[in-house]
């Protein structure tokens, strides 16, 4: 069984983001034509933080966009009510760019599939890479992350919650909980 409760604290998360930023810069040999695209809502915040980290490393800012994948979900015909649609805010041309998609938790891979389709409708990036804070396993599609903050083996009846101060108004942490407990 996975350890329950707090898996990462504020410091752990900060260090993980900094390491991922270093890995992104290393793998892409700098930040030329590099852009970050965060998936709403928590991925967008992590993308913003990664861009800050990259700026301290390279001294140059990278563009950050926010992607809303609601209209590309594959379960729209299954859910009882339509999820709320938000705006996609990407104010740069993604064609020819090296895009790093950012999300908080990688699970079934279906969100990333939707994000890939949404991105490709906006242009033709040179490459798309994937950075996630948590990889919790249980993939249902052939998708993997290029950059991972922490791998957490989980059971399907567990819930991984990433708490970020920007939206949750409390200190950053990652918590694993049995569903219904």
């Amino acid at each position: 069984m996975t350890p329950q409760g707090k898996i990462l604290d504020q410091e752990n998360i900060r260090r993980a983001m900094m390491r991922i930023a270093h890995e992104i810069v290393e793998k892409n040999k700098g930040v030329d034509s590099l852009c970050l695209v965060g998936i709403r809502t928590r991925g967008a915040i992590l993308a913003e933080r990664l861009s800050e980290c990259i700026k301290t490393i390279e001294g140059k800012p990278v563009s950050v966009g926010i992607l809303d994948i609601t209209l590309y979900r594959d379960d729209l015909s299954l859910v009882a009510q339509q999820p709320v649609v938000h705006e996609t805010l990407i104010d740069f041309d993604i064609s020819g760019k090296k895009i790093v998609l950012v999300d908080d938790v990688l699970y079934t891979g279906r969100t990333i599939r939707a994000a890939l389709d949404a991105l490709i409708d906006l242009g033709r990036p040179a490459t798309i890479q994937l950075a996630v804070l948590i990889d919790r396993g249980h993939r249902e599609l052939p998708i993997r992350a290029d950059y991972v903050g922490k791998n957490i083996p989980t059971a399907a009846d567990e819930n991984v919650k990433v708490i970020l101060t920007e939206i949750d108004k409390t200190e950053d942490e990652v918590v694993v909980k049995k569903v219904g407990v």
């Binding site: 209209l71 590309y72 729209l76 015909s77 705006e87």
Partner: protein
């Protein structure tokens, strides 16, 4: 935000403020889809929308068709002149036959008030009212409210004047319901022969002086003079109507430079609106059309996602 529970959009009279706001908020996110190179998202893939139009329409029909197509739904177009209604089939029978072919949504425009309501009582498919008789045209009012909100930043407390043939106008009725629900003050203005008898029961002010109303307004919605509904001599002449209630540049010059001019289209230039006003900097007529597409995408998305 409120949860969406409806399968039909029949009128704004029965919608509450939160539902209207959810549609407006959703429309905002849909606007960008039409600005991209790939103007299509897969949200309604596999759904079928039938447009059942028993009255002439360009804007509304094209807008609904594009909205459905940009959400990846399949669209069929039926107009009264080229369908079996010319052989005497009732609209309910036509709709039931469409449903037998598993159409998910029927968008209906009809010259009789209440037709969408009757259809919705007999159909499992959703029904959207695209204008029924003199009753309501909910998506037009939603796009008008959306445009006011975008242009002026808010709706509550704003003064809206609707000028023209209030008696026959479904656009006026839907706008009155919608704007009132969001807290705007509505004035209706027009010749007394084209004013419904109990119009004050709507909770609106009544004016017979356009220039005076314009001075107090943030936005004027100019209604098309429906020439096809003027057989009963409501007006002495079009010229007199144009002089008293037509929004000319001369009248506009006397009002605030920030006054917003809207028109649901199609315009009778030189009758209810001057050509220079329609093309002028205070007119947002074409922006209304752009916003209409986003509103209809939002409505289709919300309604087609609701399960029984």
């Amino acid at each position: 935000m409120t949860n969406w529970k409806r399968r039909d959009l029949l009128d704004l009279q029965s919608l509450d403020k939160e539902e209207i706001e959810l549609i407006l908020e959703t429309a905002k996110s849909f606007r960008q889809v039409s600005t991209r190179d790939v103007k299509k998202v897969p949200a309604l893939r596999g759904k079928t929308v039938a447009l059942l139009f028993y009255e002439a329409s360009t804007r509304t029909r094209v807008s609904f068709e594009l909205a459905a197509k940009r959400l990846s739904a399949d669209v069929i177009n039926i107009s009264s002149t080229s369908s079996s209604s010319t052989k005497g089939e009732s609209i309910l029978d036509t709709a039931l036959n469409l449903e037998a072919m598993n159409v998910d949504m029927i968008v209906v425009r009809h010259y009789s008030s209440g037709v969408p309501n009757i259809l919705s009582q007999h159909l499992k498919a959703g029904v959207i009212n695209a204008g029924d008789g003199c009753r309501e045209h909910p998506t037009q009012a939603l796009l008008d409210i959306f445009t006011v909100k975008e242009k002026l930043g808010s709706v509550a407390g704003r003064n809206i004047t609707i000028v023209g043939d209030i008696l026959h106008s479904r656009v006026a009725r839907s706008n009155i319901w919608g704007f009132k629900k969001l807290g705007a003050n509505v004035t209706v203005c027009g010749p007394s022969t084209l004013m419904p008898r109990c119009v004050k029961d709507f909770g609106v002010e009544v004016s017979y002086d356009l220039e005076a109303s314009m001075k107090k307004s943030d936005c004027v919605i100019v209604l098309r003079l429906q020439k096809e509904r003027q057989q009963d001599s409501f007006l002495p002449s079009l010229r007199e109507y144009a002089k008293l209630f037509g929004l000319s540049q001369t009248k506009l010059d006397k009002a605030s430079k920030d006054l917003l001019i809207m028109h649901p289209g199609p315009t009778n230039r030189g009758v209810e609106i001057g050509a220079d006003v329609a093309d002028g900097s205070q007119s947002v007529i074409l922006e209304q059309v752009t916003n209409g597409l986003a509103i209809r995408m939002a409505v289709l998305y919300l309604l087609l996602g609701t399960k029984e």
